[in-house]
């Protein structure tokens, strides 16, 4: 190795070390902020540990030995299929500011920060949770994801899933079923476990157990929206992305049990008179927790979220009407695309309905519409939602942000004003 290479590699090493230090520091900061929020349930600790494990200790995903990881970039990849193949899905949508800065140099200016962060992680090559993935599955939900798939393909074996742009035609659904079959074949090539009813049904049972706990949680929260801080809940859902589902289920059960006790004792996480706020729009990925934290710091309560890294992440269960391989595959394709509120679909009236339902369930008083700069499809839907919510007399603001901390103060003012508006404005 000549001198130039030496210097270059050591520069590369230093860069990596710097990245690790920086990104760990950011993560520690946000973890502490989450920790510092009052009324933290005891059972939240394991979830925090998972996030710490991934982002501070820089370890791989929490999973049993010898389970290969498959990186997924959207909720439209059914985790059941991956569990059935004996692998484990890891949701890799990035939220790291440090990685974003690196990705900023590689990607075009107008690309959304999420994709930039992923590309940054990919190029810096230090996060084990990214590096240990033996395959990447990228549903083509938008142009950025399309190009991302191409970029990832240079580093990992990558599978793209073509997502139809409409959902009301049967032909589109059948096409996605076929897409899933092809995906499962790739998974079989990876792990050697062929697709069978037994495996699929087993995997579905596993995720169903998790969704059962999640439903229990939603039910508890519907009864008492204030029982847990929204930020804590978002941490729980973010932790799910990096954990084997059965482990997560255990933790979730403990959390549910604790919350149940709390409701019985009447211990709420916030006061009754605080403005209840729902967050929707672009995904909020750890450590980009500035918005939920701001809401709770400014005296609002985050009672619900309609984002893919939050409740949406595991909300829709497959309804297996036909107990055969094809039946389960159809159910999976169905649940991945049809109920998905992703704005990538041409017609998305039902997202408005979904939000209206959440407003009713959680007794929401205001909606914050989160848009990551460059996330066009989400930005498009703001207008529709504003119109509909106007009819219901629910205030809504659009908050655009990037993956950096420069706009925190600006956001703080806007969020504070919004909360004041709900508190006093309607008088």
């Amino acid at each position: 190795m000549n001198d130039y290479d030496m210097r270059k590699s050591s520069a590369e090493e230093r860069r990596k070390q710097r990245f690790i230090n920086k990104s760990a520091a950011v993560s520690v900061k946000y973890l502490r902020k989450i920790d510092d929020l009052p009324h933290k349930p005891e059972a939240l600790e394991p979830f925090m540990n998972i996030l710490r494990h991934i982002f501070v200790d820089m370890q791989g995903a929490v999973k049993p030995e010898n389970t290969p990881s498959v990186g997924t970039y959207c909720v439209m990849v059914p985790p059941e299929l991956i569990y059935a193949a004996g692998a484990m899905p890891v949701k890799l949508c990035g939220g790291s500011y440090t990685a974003f800065n690196i990705g900023d140099d590689i990607a075009p200016r107008d690309v959304c920060p999420l994709v930039k962060a992923v590309m940054g992680f990919e190029s810096i090559d230090v996060m084990p949770v990214y590096q240990e993935c033996e395959m990447m599955a990228v549903p083509i939900t938008c142009d950025c994801k399309k190009k991302l798939a191409g970029y990832l393909g240079q580093h990992h074996p990558t599978v793209t899933l073509h997502v139809p742009s409409r959902r009301d035609r049967d032909a589109d659904m059948e096409q996605y079923v076929r897409e899933l079959y092809l995906f499962s074949q790739k998974l079989t090539d990876l792990t050697g476990v062929p697709l069978s009813y037994e495996r699929l049904s087993y995997a579905c049972g596993m995720t169903a157990a998790a969704q059962y706990e999640l439903s229990r949680f939603i039910e508890l929260r519907r009864k008492a929206p204030l029982v847990i801080k929204g930020t804590h809940y978002m941490a729980v859902m973010n932790a799910m992305s990096y954990t084997h589902i059965s482990i997560w289920t255990e933790y979730m059960r403990a959390l549910n049990d604790e919350l149940e006790q709390k409701i019985k004792r009447g211990e709420m996480a916030s006061k009754e008179n605080r403005p209840r706020i729902l967050i929707t729009g672009s995904p909020i990925v750890f450590p980009n927790f500035k918005l939920p934290l701001l809401i709770e710091e400014m005296g609002g309560v985050l009672v619900g979220d309609e984002t893919c890294m939050g409740e949406r992440g595991a909300y829709d269960p497959p309804a297996i009407a036909d107990r055969s391989v094809d039946g389960i595959m159809r159910a999976l394709a169905n649940k991945s695309t049809r109920p998905c509120t992703c704005p990538t679909f041409t017609d998305n009236k039902r997202r408005v309905y979904r939000i209206m339902q959440m407003l009713k369930n959680y007794k929401v008083q205001g909606v914050i519409y989160h848009v990551l700069r460059g996330c066009l499809v989400y930005d498009y839907e703001y207008r529709v939602l504003e119109e509909e919510l106007g009819k219901l007399n629910i205030p809504v603001i659009r908050v655009e942000s990037e993956y950096n901390e420069e706009d925190v103060e600006q956001l703080r003012i806007r969020v504070e004003a919004f909360i004041e508006l709900i508190k006093y404005g309607k008088g």
Binding site: P64, T67, G86, R167, D168, R169, D170, M173, E174, R178, Y181, L182, Q185, T188, L195, S196, Y197, E198, S201, Y202, C204, G205, M206, A208, A209, Q211, Y212, S215, R216, E219, H244, I245, S246, I247, E250, D316, P317, P318, A319, I320, A321, D322, R323, S324, V325, D326, G327, R330, A331, N334, K335, R338, P339, T341, K349, R350, Y353, M356, Q357, K360
Partner: protein, 581 residues
């Protein structure tokens, strides 16, 4: 464009072929029993027993038959059966015998005066107790006292071919107990238990103190759990066998095809099991199965179990009226034989009355809960579920084809009678319930149709219901039916689970977003004429209150997320975090 034309031509050819097949259904026999009169033999024994007919399989025996004249009912009237009894029946014999014994003088009522006694025995073979409104009656001077069994409900008593009005008739049951009945204005006796009839009855009538007439009546019906019953089940057994062979062939063929295609599509893990215990959730589906099994039993053995038959209730379902043991009658016969409908006003009124009441009160709930043909398809579907064999999932295009087939079926169903065909020969239901009740029925094309029903029902749940003409007619009133399917478009996530689960392929359930008005989004009526109210959509709906079945506006079954999840999620295991491998 060209494809469409080809498709249309193909469909037209298929439709014409189907109509032609339906017209010649009787000639395209699936299973033919011997002609009833060919298989029947009559022998007379003088064993000192009372004058009566008994049945042993197809052999009829006349007991106590000395000094008797045996008459057989023919198309042309009453004919005397010559002394070489068997195989000498008149060629147009229509299945009823009577034996008359006269010239006996005995004192039966114990008043010391000897009376003129005439003993008569009559029997009707099972197939003559059919759906015809006019039962077999000799109405001949040779047979002075006669009872005619009508509709499995009433006996009309004739004395010298005239109805006996307002007279006392003593009925002696097989176990010797006596009941006294009084005939009404038209000479009818009602209120006899069907099972007593089956065991044989003796009617005694005294027109004057010096004359006693008694008639023993036996109907050929006591056939269940005998060799005869098994032989009646033979065609149905053959149908099941052929269906099983078809299904196996299909599975192997598909495996072969998929092998060539190199895709993991169509992997059929027969006998693959998930050993974890699933939670049993008692719900609407359980109730539906209980009702289905109950009604299946009642529509096959009903009158045997309860002893009565409600023949004026004509349920519009495919329960074959050739099965005389069913609890109610079926409206399918009337609808498919509209040309003979104008038989009696009472019957027409009864038919339309029940039909309207059923259609308005229940609608296609009958299809989902009561119809035996639907039940057998559900059983076939459950069999596939247990074996985890790949089904055939239909999409909009295929459902549209089925809808076209339904129109053809409707034309055949309503119109075949007018052109001289008989829908019953084409009807698959004829292979089912009469066979299970022990009635030997020869099957026309209907046997083949039943194979199609079973095989298609195996791969596609309730496939026949999609083309059922009777169900379509029943569904026409869905707008005023009391059972409704309601949807809350706000709660609905449009996940399509209901569409996936719906055996009838009703897509509008998940696509509809607005009801009649623009603001009617919380309680949209999504009932369509296809909906059989099986509740599968509600069971598969993961959203609270998104779908509900209502009766008179009251919710009786509502979608519930926790219930939904319980069906799928296995019980949590005790050990922590050891669920994964």
């Amino acid at each position: 464009m060209k494809n469409k034309t080809v498709g249309r031509i193909l469909f037209a050819v298929f439709a014409v072929a189907l109509c032609a097949a339906a017209y010649f259904a009787a000639d395209l026999a699936f299973f033919q029993y011997d002609d009833p009169l060919e298989r029947a033999t009559l022998s007379v024994v003088n064993d000192g027993e009372a004058l009566s007919f008994t049945y042993d399989n197809d052999a009829i025996t006349l007991h106590g038959g000395d000094n008797t004249t045996v008459y057989a009912l023919t198309m042309g009237g009453t004919a005397v059966v010559e002394d070489t009894y068997s195989e000498s029946f008149p060629s147009d014999f229509s299945g009823s015998f009577a034996a008359v014994q006269t010239g006996i003088r005995e004192d039966t009522d114990g008043d010391g005066v000897k009376e003129d006694i005439t003993r008569i025995a009559k029997t009707d073979m099972e197939y003559t107790q059919g759906y015809d409104a006019t039962a077999n009656a000799f109405l001949s001077e040779d047979i002075p006292l006669e009872v005619v069994y009508k509709d499995r409900e009433k006996f009309t008593v004739y004395y010298l071919a005239k109805p006996v009005k307002n007279a006392e008739i003593t009925v002696t049951l097989a176990d010797g107990s006596e009941q006294v009945f009084t005939t009404d204005e038209s000479g009818d006796i009602t209120g006899l238990n069907l099972n007593d009839v089956r065991n044989g009855l003796t009617f005694t009538y005294r027109p004057n103190p010096l004359t006693t007439l008694s008639i023993h009546y036996q109907v050929e019906a006591d056939t269940i759990f005998t060799v005869r019953w098994l032989s009646a089940m033979l065609p149905f057994g053959i149908i099941i066998l052929i269906s099983a062979v078809c299904i196996t062939l299909d599975v192997f063929l598909r495996k072969l095809l998929y092998k060539n295609e190199k895709l993991p599509i169509g992997k059929t893990g027969i006998m693959a099991r998930d050993k974890r215990r699933k939670r049993f959730v008692f719900g609407f589906e359980t109730v539906r199965w209980i009702i289905m099994i109950l009604s299946f039993a009642l529509l096959i053995f009903g009158s045997r179990l309860t002893g009565t038959v409600f023949s004026s209730v004509q349920l519009p379902i495919f329960a074959c009226p050739y099965n005389l043991d069913q609890l109610t009658s079926s409206g399918c016969y009337m609808l498919s034989h509209l040309d003979v409908l104008v038989s009696s006003w009472k019957e027409i009124l009864a038919f339309f009355g029940t039909f309207l009441v059923c259609a308005v009160l229940l609608g296609r709930v009958l299809c989902g809960f009561v119809c035996p043909l639907g039940f057998i398809q559900d059983v076939a579907h459950e069999a596939r579920q247990a074996l985890h064999i790949e089904g055939i999932s239909l999409n909009e295009r295929l459902y549209a084809v089925l809808r076209m087939v339904k129109w053809v079926m409707l034309i055949i169903f309503l119109g075949i009678g007018f052109v001289g065909g008989n829908f019953c020969d084409f009807c698959p239901a004829m292979a089912l319930s009469p066979a299970l009740a022990g009635f030997k029925l020869s099957l026309g094309l209907g046997g083949f149709v039943m194979v199609i029903v079973l095989v298609s029902g195996f791969f596609k749940r309730r496939c026949f219901c999609n083309i059922c003409p009777l169900g379509f007619i029943l569904g026409l009133t869905h707008k005023i039916s009391l059972f409704k399917l309601k949807k809350d478009a706000v709660a609905c996530t449009e996940c399509g689970a209901c569409y996936e689960a719906c055996p009838m392929g009703i897509k509008s359930v998940f696509t509809v977003r607005e009801g009649k008005g623009k603001y009617d989004i919380q309680c949209i009526d999504v009932t369509t004429s296809d909906c059989i109210m099986c509740g599968e959509c509600v069971r598969c709906c993961p959203e609270n209150n998104a779908l509900a079945i209502t009766f008179c506006g009251k919710k009786i079954y509502t979608a519930d997320r926790m219930k939904f999840m319980k069906q799928y999620a296995p019980r949590p295991c005790k050990k922590k975090g050891k669920d994964h491998e």
